[in-house]
């Protein structure tokens, strides 16, 4: 049964109850088979494909009235699409929203995992454009499905090794493939590989929604998530040789901001909540600008 809110004309969380049940069943199977992509009948949403329709459907299906929702895009709560999705749920589900990672029960994200450690009981919902990690090596769904069924991932290792042969490094810098719980190879969505280690043994439940491609997958809490690599070329994350110019944080992911047309630039936290919190605690960066790439 669907009970429309008289103010919005739509059900709680926009989706009708039948659609929510269908998505919920897919989520339960996704959790039971970590890293496996469960097909689901994604609906047309009132925002375009590519804007996070998969994440929005997953969030809409799990959200309850006591949840506190945070939405980030590129690590930031204030990018336009994050604002737009947060406003969508504030309007259709009337849930509490926050920008603080630690206060949120559900965090929907595009392209980043928050810097602050996630905790037990939180759910991180990823927006996924291309859920199939093998898609760019084999465009056919019928083929990739067989490869997953047989756990035949040689193709992926060959690709990564060709990178090494050509560039001396694995040239995949985001959407870096991972192996989940020793079985399925999974696309972590286009997060920079910097964030991959945060997925491993993460206390939060991680759910992935791909609307256009109609797939849902999951990583339960405290699950082994291993970035693919080789003994002679172990997985390594990006490092930044400078702290955040605003809050002085080190070991975090930084955005490069161009300041002028003379090569002036500065590097600041991509996770705006983390940066603001640090500044509120009194941490300050140099605020300085640099010229040209080091």
């Amino acid at each position: 049964m669907t009970t429309a809110n008289p103010e919005t004309g739509y059900n709680f969380g926009y989706l009708d109850e039948g659609t929510k049940r269908m998505i919920r069943r897919a989520i339960l199977k996704a959790i039971a088979i970590p890293g496996y992509q469960v097909p689901f009948a994604a609906r047309e949403m009132p925002m375009p494909y590519g804007w996070g329709t998969g994440g929005v459907q997953v969030t809409a299906a799990i959200l309850g009235k006591h949840d506190v929702l945070k939405v980030i895009d590129q690590g930031s709560d204030d990018t336009t699409n994050a604002v737009s999705i947060r406003a969508f749920f504030a309007r259709t589900a009337d849930v509490a929203v926050t920008t603080r990672t630690r206060d949120a029960t559900v965090i929907q994200t595009r392209h980043r995992i928050p810097e602050a450690p996630l905790r037990d009981g939180q759910v991180l919902v990823y927006q996924v454009p291309i859920p199939e990690p093998l898609r760019f090596l084999e465009p056919r769904e019928t083929e990739t499905r067989q490869l997953h069924a047989l756990a035949e991932y040689g193709l992926m290792h060959v690709k990564l090794y060709e990178d090494i042969a050509r560039h001396g490094h694995i040239a995949t810098t985001y959407a870096y493939p991972v192996e989940v719980a020793g079985r399925y190879v999974m696309d972590p969505s286009p997060t920079p590989k910097f964030d991959n280690p945060k997925m491993d043994d993460c206390p939060a439940l991680q759910l992935f929604g791909a609307g256009r491609e109609k797939r849902i997958y999951a990583v339960p809490p405290h699950t082994r998530v291993k970035s693919l690599d080789f003994e002679d070329h172990p997985f390594r994350v990006q490092t930044f040789d400078r702290p955040c110019a605003l809050c002085g944080a080190e070991g975090v992911y930084l955005d490069e901001v161009l300041l002028d047309d003379a090569g002036g630039r500065m590097f600041v936290c991509s996770d705006t909540d983390h940066c603001e919190e640090r500044r509120a605690e009194g941490h300050l960066g140099t605020g300085g600008m640099e010229t040209a790439h080091a």
């Binding site: 009948a41 804007w51 001396g168 920079p192």
Partner: protein, 368 residues
């Protein structure tokens, strides 16, 4: 001093206001009514209904108005609205053989029962800009009505061919309800009903180009237009509690039956094969292109050589939807700076290594 970008919310609100203003355009010009769009942009309305999978001319016209005439945006509005509608069930199959005809042509027979009825068509117009229309002149003189054939006396060309066994029979209805790709994720290989559904919803331009490619040798099917018919059919529904069909109303359809490349074997005498297209309203180009691609997608079933794009169902079905295509193409304008930074870091590192290698040319030469 740089301050982290703020104000996304205000920016969005402003953009919405600007959009509303731009949509209206010059307020000295009278506003278009939905009825005007429905009546005078009828082919556009038909296309929005077809690709939007919802037969509602008023809603499609409203969507076009709201979308500033952007076709895909209008389809998007209709589809997003359609998702929220409750479903009561599936109608009975419509009987196009009993269509009340407005137009009916065959390219395979000069004359046939029921005759050729040109109806309202651009086909033989000279494409000269009619400046009289700019003057907003008087209503055109009513055309002398062509004698319209009685539906009972205008059988489908494929039924005529079928009587003589000259065309493969349509697959019999085995009672299995056809799939619904708005309710089930598309799975490959998809059966013909699902493929037709995807093509009907598919972008007209994409389906047209694929159909065209089959005519140029990429999966040739030797098509003849057996028949195109445009008109009105009744829609009936059997409510669970009644158990008999009740009429819901009428809808306008365009149906195209292509008669294609014949097949035969030691057991079966040669027979023509079918390609099928169906669209809401008067959408001939779409129905024809769809029929070509439908036939091309049957290549494997008919044991024909494979390899052309239009024969490849994973390629065709995964890319024919305008909403999916436009969404993923246009999402490139969303911020990607986190991933770009990751790529930039790698390129800078590779360039540094490259420079270091080139800085020691003597060693390199020695190595060679």
């Amino acid at each position: 001093m740089y301050v982290a970008v703020k104000g996304g919310e205000a920016a969005i609100a402003n953009a919405h206001r600007l959009l509303a203003e731009t949509r209206r355009g010059d307020t000295a010009v009278p506003e278009l009514s939905v009825a005007q769009i429905r009546e005078q942009m009828a082919l556009l309305v038909d296309r929005v209904m077809t690709e939007g999978s919802l037969h509602d001319p008023d809603l499609a016209a409203l969507a076009l108005k709201q979308a500033r005439g952007d076709l895909i945006e209008a389809v998007f509005l209709v589809r997003a609205y359609r998702t929220t509608l409750p479903r009561f069930g599936a109608s009975e199959p419509v009987e196009t053989g009993a269509m009340s005809l407005r137009r009916r042509i065959s390219a395979t027979y000069k004359d046939l029962p029921g005759g050729q009825v040109l109806g309202p068509t651009f086909d033989y117009t000279h494409r000269l800009i009619d400046f009289a229309l700019a003057a907003e002149g008087e209503a055109p003189v009513a055309a002398e009505s062509e004698p319209l054939p009685d539906a009972a006396h205008a059988p489908r060309v494929t039924d005529l061919l079928g009587q003589d066994g000259l065309i493969e029979p349509s697959a019999p209805d085995d009672g299995t309800p056809p799939g619904d790709l708005t309710r089930e994720p598309l799975d490959f290989p998809a059966d013909r009903a699902l493929r037709l559904q995807a093509l009907a919803r598919g972008d007209e331009g994409f389906v047209l180009a694929l159909g065209y490619s089959t005519q140029r040798g990429y999966g040739r099917t030797h098509p003849f237009v057996g028949e195109i018919r445009v008109g009105t059919v009744a829609v009936e529904f059997v409510p669970e509690e009644l158990g008999f069909p009740v009429p819901l109303g009428e809808i306008d359809l365009t149906e195209c039956q292509m008669v294609n490349q014949f097949h035969g074997s030691a057991e079966v005498p040669p027979q023509f094969t079918r390609g099928y297209g169906l669209a809401f309203g008067q959408s001939e180009r779409k129905a024809m292109a769809m029929a070509l691609v439908d036939r091309a997608l049957r290549a494997e079933e008919l044991g024909e050589p494979l390899g052309a794009p239009a024969q490849d169902q994973e390629f065709v079905l995964a890319h024919c939807d305008a909403l999916q295509a436009t969404g993923f193409v246009e999402h490139l304008k969303l911020p990607h700076y986190v991933d770009f930074q990751a790529e930039l870091e790698l390129v800078l590192r590779l360039r540094a290594e490259h420079a270091a290698r080139n800085a020691a040319p003597a060693m390199k030469e020695a190595a060679e």
